[in-house]
């Protein structure tokens, strides 16, 4: 199995991980686009090796309020998958999904909206993971989606702690997406454990 040391990854390995982000997020973006009947584009995925200090600042600062949807991954790939959307963008998404109905930008999410948001998370994470599974020929099962609406720093502390156990840095496969007017935007973040990184790379012949 390819052994992965976070500080010593080479370009080839980075490129492969970026490609995984590309394919996974591409499928997820398509699923989201169909679901919302809106044109949504994604940016080129980034592979970030971040210190914990920097991690909280990833999405508009540690205190920026975001909706975080988290799935834990089991079987051949272990780790977490996160889908992060700024609160305002989440409102726009839910509004698109529910045909224009929904609460105002400053109001709290209703039960209905929360459940819609969770379903969005479920479908796009499913699209991401199934393409990853097909590509690597590995079996991936995910938990039900868990959701939290809070400060970005607090939400990102959950995967950060997992990385803290093995390293002083976190490696993320991060893809930003958005529509033309930039009303619907957010991030997919895949956070495999270190062993799983090795397994993913091995499965692709590295």
């Amino acid at each position: 199995m390819a052994e992965v040391k976070l500080d010593e990854m080479n370009h080839m390995q980075f490129d492969v991980l970026r490609e995984i982000g590309n394919i996974g997020a591409g499928n997820a973006t398509t699923a989201l686009s169909q679901m919302l009947s809106a044109k949504i584009d994604m940016k080129v995925p980034k592979i970030d090796l971040l210190e914990f200090k920097e991690l909280g600042e990833l999405i508009g600062g540690a205190e920026n309020i975001v909706v975080g949807i988290l799935l834990t991954l089991q079987d051949d790939i272990e780790g977490m998958m996160m889908f992060l959307v700024e609160k305002k963008a989440a409102k726009s998404m839910v509004k698109l999904l529910m045909g224009g109905f929904g609460s105002g930008d400053d109001e709290e999410f209703s039960e209905m909206e929360l459940s819609a948001m969770q379903e969005i998370g479920n479908i796009i994470a499913g699209a991401y993971l199934s393409s990853l599974s097909a590509l690597t020929n590995m079996k991936i099962t995910s938990s039900v989606p868990y959701m939290a609406i809070d400060m970005a720093g607090a939400i990102l502390s959950v995967p950060a702690i997992e990385f803290g156990k093995i390293s002083d840095k976190a490696l993320l496969i991060e893809t930003e997406f958005g529509d033309v007017g930039n009303e619907v935007n957010g991030y997919f973040i895949l956070i495999p454990t270190l062993e799983s990184y090795g397994q993913i790379l091995t499965s692709l012949g590295l």
Partner: protein
């Protein structure tokens, strides 16, 4: 007005008046303030994990409750704080996602708070105020001038500890 010293995730620092010290977006991590009220010497740590001895990669002492609090203690003592005068205020240790499974990985907030309390007890530092647990993130600011700790959360009034 002094400046505000920023403490990141897995980080610690000390602070004297008129400055203040803050850490943003505590989730399952715990923020610890050590303070000598007479000399107005303070320090803050933002720890992520309970126990350094169970983890191989532990170069960053500020990452763990046990080593992080020890280091913070050393730093405030070095600044001139009186051992027996030190008090502590702690916040954080939330469970950010409402998991119903018994997944150990996700209960780290509770274990962090326990580890912080054990370490403070072993250093004989009393905890005079705490705002821990539950399911939401916290930003904390400490003012050594008057010893107040502000806790800010989304959609909740600011608490002063």
């Amino acid at each position: 007005m002094g400046t505000m010293v920023k403490v990141g995730m897995a980080d610690l620092n000390v602070c004297l008046p008129p400055d203040s010290i803050t850490t943003l977006g505590l989730g399952s991590c715990v923020g610890i303030v050590l303070y000598d009220p007479a000399k107005k010497i303070s320090g803050m740590a933002h720890v992520m994990l309970p126990d350094s001895s169970r983890i191989r990669n532990n170069e960053n002492v500020a990452k763990f409750a046990d080593t992080g609090i020890q280091e913070l203690y050393n730093r405030v003592i070095k600044l001139g704080a009186n051992r027996s005068a030190l008090i502590a205020k702690i916040a954080g240790g939330a469970q950010m996602f409402a998991f119903n499974s018994n997944n150990e990985m996700l209960k780290v907030g509770i274990r962090n708070v326990e580890a912080v309390k054990n370490k403070l007890a072993s250093l004989h530092i009393p905890i005079v105020a705490e705002d821990t647990g539950l399911n939401y993130g916290r930003t904390i600011e400490f003012y050594p001038e008057n010893g107040s700790l502000l806790v800010k959360s989304v959609g909740k009034p600011v608490k002063t500890l």
